[in-house]
């Protein structure tokens, strides 16, 4: 759960932006689990919000920086939100993943 296990205030792309960047979340939470073939559930509830630069770097960066493919993420990654106001981010996250995959294919 991002808010409980990482931060209620995720912000920015890179570590130089601040303590709770998308890159840090990706490298410390997403990559270690996904790279080993685990199923990973990311729960979105409880954070102040999700700035686009954080989400894109965290999730789009899986494709861009780690060369994971969209198909693998579809199999191993589940993004959930229990409260309605966080559900809009699920579609946004998958859009970032799809866009990053598309751009990689386009060269």
């Amino acid at each position: 759960m991002i808010a409980k296990d990482f931060s209620e205030t995720p912000a920015g792309r890179y570590p130089y932006d601040g303590k709770f960047s998308g890159e840090r979340f990706r490298e410390e939470f997403l990559v270690p689990n996904l790279a080993e073939g685990h199923q990973l559930v990311v729960e979105l509830d409880g954070a102040r919000g999700y700035p686009s630069s954080f989400l894109e770097e965290a999730f789009g960066g899986l494709i861009r920086k780690h060369k994971l493919d969209e198909e693998t993420l579809l199999q191993r990654l589940t993004v959930v939100a229990k409260t309605p106001r966080y559900q809009r981010y699920i579609k946004i996250i998958w859009r970032y993943i799809a866009d990053a995959a598309h751009r990689r294919q386009s060269g």
């Binding site: 205030t9 792309r13 932006d17 686009s52 630069s53 894109e56 970032y96």
Partner: protein, 311 residues
């Protein structure tokens, strides 16, 4: 003597305000953006000329004083404070302007006053401090009551700071830019008690969104879109293009400018306006209406982002 315009408002007098700012920068910080600390110039600014001061322009002015203070190591002395327009003086007092300059008449500055625009004291920082949005929210709520749509507020504010962190101050400062304070931004809020409008304002002194775009991988898409709009690659068209590129995801990887979330905050609220002035361009988005754009004669010398929300 450097004379600011009587109407110190970017909305009504963009040319006058930017001409003043550029003159101040040239004289205070050195010609052609080169700081020459050995040359002692006596800079006198006739602040008493200002009869009308808008909140956004006030923040830009305060940021200039802060730049002077940090780069030169001394505060600009201000004079004739007793002759300043009382509302202008009080607004600047609330903003914290007099902490950034050296008043000669502290009694005049400290006296009571009122203004149609209540201001919160400006904040300034670098990058994205963790506690900043909470602190800003609390200050704004002290001014105007509970913030609507807190998640959208958080995202819009954070993206405004991310925009500065990623794009405003490239490693190599162009020679036509005044000496700058790397990664620094300034923020404030104001509440128009009569019209019940809250403003949230951010400023940086960087290269501006249009100048930062060539490093964006969506740049060619943005330029093509500007051409389809039937306009030159003006600064205003480029800002609008960057906004739309972010909405369609094309600019997000490699560092989009987070502009769509700034617009989404307006859409989430009851009613509101997003204004972005950057370089020589300005775009205004009113909730539910098409974006309007203007290309100005003068260059702001940075970026201003302002949300105006109905309360």
């Amino acid at each position: 003597m450097i004379e600011p315009p009587e109407n110190f408002s970017l909305a009504d007098n963009h040319a006058g305000v930017t001409a003043f700012l550029n003159q101040f920068r040239a004289e205070a910080l050195g010609a052609a953006g080169v700081l020459n600390k050995s040359k002692r110039r006596r800079i006198v600014v006739a602040f008493k000329r200002i009869r009308r001061l808008a909140p956004a322009a006030a923040l830009v002015l305060a940021a200039e004083m802060d730049r002077w203070r940090r780069i030169r190591g001394v505060r600009l002395s201000v004079i004739d404070e007793g002759e300043w327009d009382p509302q202008v003086r009080w607004m600047l007092h609330e903003l914290g302007f007099f902490d950034l300059v050296k008043p000669m008449n502290k009694a005049a500055v400290a006296g009571a006053g009122s203004t149609p625009h209540k201001m919160i004291k400006l904040r300034s920082g670098k990058r994205i401090p963790t506690e900043f949005t909470d602190e800003l929210q609390a200050a704004l709520e002290g001014l105007a009551g509970p913030i609507e749509e807190k998640a959208y507020f958080y995202e819009a504010v954070t993206e405004a700071l991310a925009n500065v962190s990623h794009h405003a101050y490239p490693d190599l400062r162009p020679t036509n830019c005044a000496p700058w304070l790397e990664h620094r931004w300034w923020a404030t809020g104001s509440f128009d008690t009569a019209r019940r409008r809250l403003k949230i304002i951010f400023v940086d002194q960087g290269i501006g969104i249009p100048a930062s775009l060539p490093t964006n991988t969506a740049f060619e898409w943005i330029r093509a879109r500007a051409s389809r709009l039937g306009v030159d690659n003006s600064d205003a068209a480029m800002i609008e293009g960057a906004l739309e590129a972010g909405r369609t995801s094309r600019a997000e990887f490699g560092g989009g400018h987070g502009l769509p979330q700034m617009q989404e905050y307006v859409d989430a609220c009851r009613d509101g306006v997003l204004r972005i002035i950057s370089g020589r361009g300005e775009i205004v988005y009113r909730k539910g209406k098409p974006i309007t754009r203007v290309t100005h004669e003068g260059n702001l010398g940075g970026t201003l982002i302002e949300w105006e929300l109905e309360r």
